[in-house]
């Protein structure tokens, strides 16, 4: 048993938590450490799309119509996010550059900053959205009452005639208004962005998802034994069985597409969606993740809709059979409402009533909070967005124009702006409540939602046409919008008044005054039954077609003013002129600095104006002292700042009043844009060229460094044998009476070291030849075993000196290869002497192996020395590289031996690599094509 106190306490506690999050978000934003500046929060904030309509309404729709009843509302957004992201990105970019504050501002700004258009869009949005707000009020108050009377689960069926002051919904609306005012207008200054609000909304998105999924899991796995069990039991209920078979009638088909179409537009153009997707967007890049994260969210929140709907039906149909009144009302098709003797059960709230009938009050409370999150999130963001529109696009233009109010001379208008916004929020919620009180109770959540979506869809021709077609004109946009909206009102709103008994039924059946072709459900006598149009599809069909036709038609036959032309170009070519339009000014004029400043101060407040001007000064290296006039750039900047507070249309009016001169004409603007564009392109090219030069220089320096190192190592290597030879020669010279044994040993050393010197010099010369590409190759065919034999003879002394043990793994038969035999001997000598060099002083073992693989021979030389660390395995074959390897110690030799080896093998189309681990010895391997696969011809070649 949940006490009323508990429910209220928990609800307020939850709202308190949201305030804390919002407060923290705003604090962080002030410190410049935005917490919403990441793609995950952004994607979560988009989920404000999921309102009480989703949270409760989907279950109801699924109970009435199965999967076709609700899924299109979520597939639509998924499609538009995945396929339509270029449109979204373009809208975001345009809005950022022009400081767009709302969808009304966006449309108005595109069509020449038109106040009229802004006003029309605002009115349509308000009228379209009020019903939508009302269903959130309905959801919260209904679920509150439901929970409150737990454990009883039926509701009084007639809630219409409750006096306002005893109506829970009235208080819910009131509290929502307070929350929305505090959330949306906490700042002293009117700004277009609300970081804390977005943080709270993202949090609410998590809560509603967790609550619904948790309830779904409990119902599926707690009450039933998983999906299999649930669906098996559902098969036994005839009404459910019907839902499982896809109804392929024309109505389902067109209804489904209509839902899909509307949802695609709504997810972008509902004022709250525009607010979170566009206005509150921190970084355009966040969109990249959101295009899959947001659809994923929609998928998750929909997984358990069908299970909850079906288990609700199974459960309550059972109790229905035991109730005489209900038994009678239960027909073949389920309407979503079960009429029990002592009240009704609404399929919309199955998640809640099921949990209550299972006596899971705590769980039911969680679902209630989830539903409240869905509803409050929507109401708060929607009213904040709408109040901005009402204030900027409806009230301000009027106030500015009415001279008698002397509004432009007031010292601080920013507080007036806030007051207007607050009043709008309260008014919107009051309208929502009144709609609920008089009309909404008669409709399900989902039908009211569709009505709102259809109204919002009217914006789409003007927006999408406006950002892709420069020819679209203000007259076209106004005509299309008005016509579409009128048809919407006539075909959807008027009939809903009939259902609410404000109009006679006759209006629907015979048309107004008996004029058949004006019948709001059958305009022009359209055969709706044949096409399978339900009233929503019918309304959307006619309103959209006429909207689009007028939009295009009137645009073609009307002319744009200069400012329209300019805005059209800036919107359509936003990516082309993005930077240029930010850097250019479209004002010819300068303005008195003091007047411009006081204008800004009045709307933005003193502090913000001060900060904004300081930022501008730093960026443009301006010193305000002694400045009397604001240049054209500053005028333009001021206009954008103002637009952020009061919308582009009003901002233009205000700035014009100070500048007392018209902005530049279209051609002049295009000249400026093109010029700026050119400069930008040049500077970009210049930048690129500079970078390329720097890179080339760095490469040269690196090469130079390598050459120096090379010379230093070569000379170092020359010094070692020279040292030995000189020292011994001096001894032989001085000590004429050396014993014979010593004499022989010393002269032997001189010979060995002289050989070393010549080898070294030959290496350097070879290397130089190979580098410059002048080397003679003497190609012949021979047995590679001969190469191994000769190289062993050449290195015999080295091996003996260190008493290294040699092992062989060679094939018995001949292995014919084609190539330069001397060079290949050089390869083997290099590898063997390397192996000797790195073998341990005692117990050194070198293994030489060879075998044939497919078209190649593979030869290896393995030592049991210290090995090479993995990092160096690749680079030891590079030119000039000496491995500074801790394992092998200081490098020995010039480092050109391996480079030459690689060059020789490259010429033979062979490959060389090394396998080694530190202290495991090194194994050098190379391959060579067998004679019959080699493309080398015998003879002499010069490369």
């Amino acid at each position: 048993m949940l006490e009323q106190k508990t429910i209220i306490l928990i609800s307020f506690g939850y709202m308190g938590l949201l305030f804390a999050i919002a407060f923290y978000g705003d604090k962080r934003a002030e410190m410049g450490k935005s917490i919403i500046s990441n793609p995950y929060i952004y994607a979560l904030s988009l989920a404000v799309y999921c309102t009480a309509w989703t949270f409760y309404g989907s279950v109801g729709a699924a109970s009435r119509a199965g999967i076709t009843g609700f899924l299109s509302t979520y597939i639509g957004p998924t499609l538009i996010m995945i396929l339509g992201w270029p449109i979204i990105r373009k809208i975001i970019r345009i809005s950022k550059i022009n400081r767009i504050t709302s969808i009304a501002d966006f449309i108005a700004s595109r069509y020449g900053k038109s106040t009229v258009l802004a006003g029309i869009v605002t009115i349509i949005a308000v009228l379209g959205i009020v019903p939508y707000i009302s269903i959130q009020i309905k959801a919260i108050s209904t679920t509150f009452l439901l929970l409150n009377q737990s454990p009883k689960i039926t509701m009084a069926s007639n809630l219409v005639n409750i006096p306002v002051l005893k109506d829970t919904a009235f208080y819910v609306a009131g509290l929502l208004a307070i929350f929305a005012v505090i959330f949306g207008t906490r700042h002293h200054e009117a700004t277009e962005r609300h970081e804390g609000l977005v943080a709270a909304i993202a949090f609410e998105s998590i809560v509603k998802l967790v609550a619904f999924v948790a309830a779904g899991i409990f119902i599926t796995y707690g009450i039933y034994d998983g999906f299999g069990d649930l669906f098996q039991k559902a098969q036994a209920v005839p009404q459910i069985k019907k839902l499982l078979v896809m109804d392929v009638s024309a109505t389902t088909f067109t209804g489904w597409y209509n839902g899909l179409f509307l949802a695609m537009l709504a997810v972008l153009f509902l004022p709250r969606q525009f607010q979170v997707i566009v206005v509150e967007n921190v970084d355009e890049k966040h969109l990249n993740k959101a295009i899959w994260l947001f659809p994923l969210y929609l998928l998750l929140i929909n997984i358990f809709v069908i299970p909850v709907a079906f288990s609700g039906m199974i459960h309550f149909f059972e109790s229905c059979q035991m109730d005489t009144t209900c038994q009678q009302s239960l027909s073949g098709t389920f309407s979503g409402i079960l009429q029990f003797t002592n009240g009704i059960v609404d399929a919309d709230y199955f998640a809640l009533t099921l949990l209550m009938s299972e006596r899971r009050e705590g769980f039911a409370m969680l679902v209630f909070i989830g539903g409240m999150s869905a509803a409050t999130g929507m109401v708060i963001v929607e009213t904040v967005a709408l109040s901005t529109m009402v204030c900027n696009d409806l009230v301000m233009p009027v106030l500015i124009r009415v001279e008698a109010l002397k509004i432009t001379q007031r010292h601080d208008i920013s507080s007036l702006l806030l007051t207007i916004r607050r009043a709008s929020i309260i008014l919107l919620l009051l309208m929502g409540y009144l709609y609920f009180h008089f009309v909404a109770k008669l409709f399900s959540l989902i039908s009211i939602g569709m009505m709102s979506f259809a109204a919002i869809a009217q914006f789409s021709p003007a927006i999408i046409g406006g950002i892709f077609w420069k020819g679209a004109t203000k007259s076209g946009a106004i005509s299309g919008l008005l016509a579409g909206f009128l048809i919407w009102g006539y075909t959807l709103v008027l009939p809903s008044l009939v259902q609410a008994d404000f109009l006679s039924q006759d209006f629907l059946s015979n048309g107004p005054f008996g004029i058949e072709w004006l019948n709001p459900h059958q305009l022009f006598g359209l055969d709706v039954a044949l096409l399978g149009f339900d009233p929503y599809t019918h309304a959307v069909f006619f309103s959209m077609i006429i909207n689009v036709l007028l939009f295009i038609g009137v645009s073609l036959f009307s002319r744009q003013t200069e400012i329209e032309q300019k805005q059209a170009t800036l919107f359509v070519d936003v990516f082309k002129y993005a930077v240029a339009s930010e850097k250019s000014s479209f004002w010819r004029a300068t303005a008195p600095l003091t007047e411009l400043k006081s204008l800004l101060e009045r709307f933005l407040g003193k502090n913000r104006t001060q900060n904004a001007l300081e930022e501008y000064a730093i960026e443009h290296h301006i010193n305000w002292d002694g400045q009397l006039t604001a240049d054209a750039g500053l005028v333009s900047h001021a206009e954008k700042l103002l637009a952020g507070a009061i919308g582009s249309a009003s901002a233009l009016v205000m700035v014009t009043s100070v500048v007392k001169e018209e902005p530049l004409g279209f051609d002049e603007i295009m000249d400026i844009l093109d010029e700026t564009q050119q400069i930008l392109i040049y500077s970009r090219k210049l930048e690129k060229a500079t970078i390329e030069l720097e890179e080339a220089n760095a490469r040269l320096k690196e090469l130079d460094k390598l050459k120096n190192e090379f010379i230093s190592t070569v000379t170092h290597e020359l010094r070692t044998p020279l040292t030995s030879i000189r020292a011994i020669a001096e001894i032989l010279h001085a000590d004429t009476n050396l014993d014979e044994e010593r004499h022989n040993k010393f002269s032997g050393i001189i010979i060995t070291e002289s050989e070393r010197l010549s080898r070294l010099i030959n290496d350097v010369l070879d290397f130089q030849k190979m580098e410059s590409g002048q080397i003679q190759w003497k190609i012949s065919q021979f047995d590679f075993k001969e190469v191994i034999e000769q190289s062993l003879a050449a290195t015999f002394q080295l091996v003996e000196e260190k008493s290294i043990h040699l092992k062989f793994h060679l094939p018995k038969s001949e292995v014919q290869v084609t190539g330069d035999m001397d060079r290949l001997i050089q390869v083997m000598v290099n590898l063997i002497s390397n192996a000797v060099k790195f073998s341990p002083a005692k117990n050194g073992i070198i293994t030489i192996g060879m075998d044939t693989e497919n078209e190649h021979i593979k030869v290896y030389v393995r030592d049991n020395g210290v090995g090479i660390s993995p990092d160096n395995l690749e680079i030891i074959f590079e030119e000039f590289t000496q491995v500074q390897d801790n394992g092998r110690g200081r490098p020995k030799g010039t480092g050109i031996g391996l480079t030459i080896t690689r060059h020789i093998l490259d010429f033979h189309k062979g490959k060389i690599w090394v396998e080694s681990e530190l202290s495991q010895g090194a194994k050098f391997l190379f391959t060579l094509p067998l004679a019959q696969y080699s493309d080398l011809d015998e003879g002499v070649k010069i490369t």
Partner: protein
């Protein structure tokens, strides 16, 4: 008692003539092929002078020199670098480590012997 000299070099064909020269001049000689071996012998053999190559497998001559100079009990041990590294920067680094002499390879044997005598007479 003959003075003791430690030759540290990994090139046997350089060690051979050096060893011959030292023995001919009545010094007691030991050989180390690596830096590690050199540090071992310094404690057991306790040489009066070390002929120290720089490019050695394992720890190099600079490090050997530094280790010796950090041990106060070896203050009297003379250190002569014998190295093929002839750039000024290499020499400066060696002398910076408080070596007594830096002789570049190839060297005149008479010069090396004179320096050794000079250092050991101090």
């Amino acid at each position: 008692m003959p003075k003791k000299i430690l030759i540290v070099d990994d090139e046997p064909n350089i060690v051979v003539p050096l060893e011959y020269l030292m023995e001919k001049n009545n010094y007691e000689v030991k050989i180390a092929e690596t830096g590690e071996k050199a540090l071992e012998l310094i404690t057991s053999f306790n040489p009066d002078l070390i002929l120290l190559d720089i490019m050695l497998p394992g720890i190099d001559g600079y490090e050997v020199c530094q280790t010796i100079r950090e041990d106060p009990s070896l203050d009297n041990t003379k250190i002569v670098f014998l190295s093929a590294m002839a750039r000024t920067i290499d020499i400066a680094r060696g002398m910076g480590l408080a070596a007594d002499e830096y002789i570049t390879k190839p060297f005149a044997t008479s010069y090396v012997m004179d320096k050794i005598k000079e250092l050991l007479e101090d």
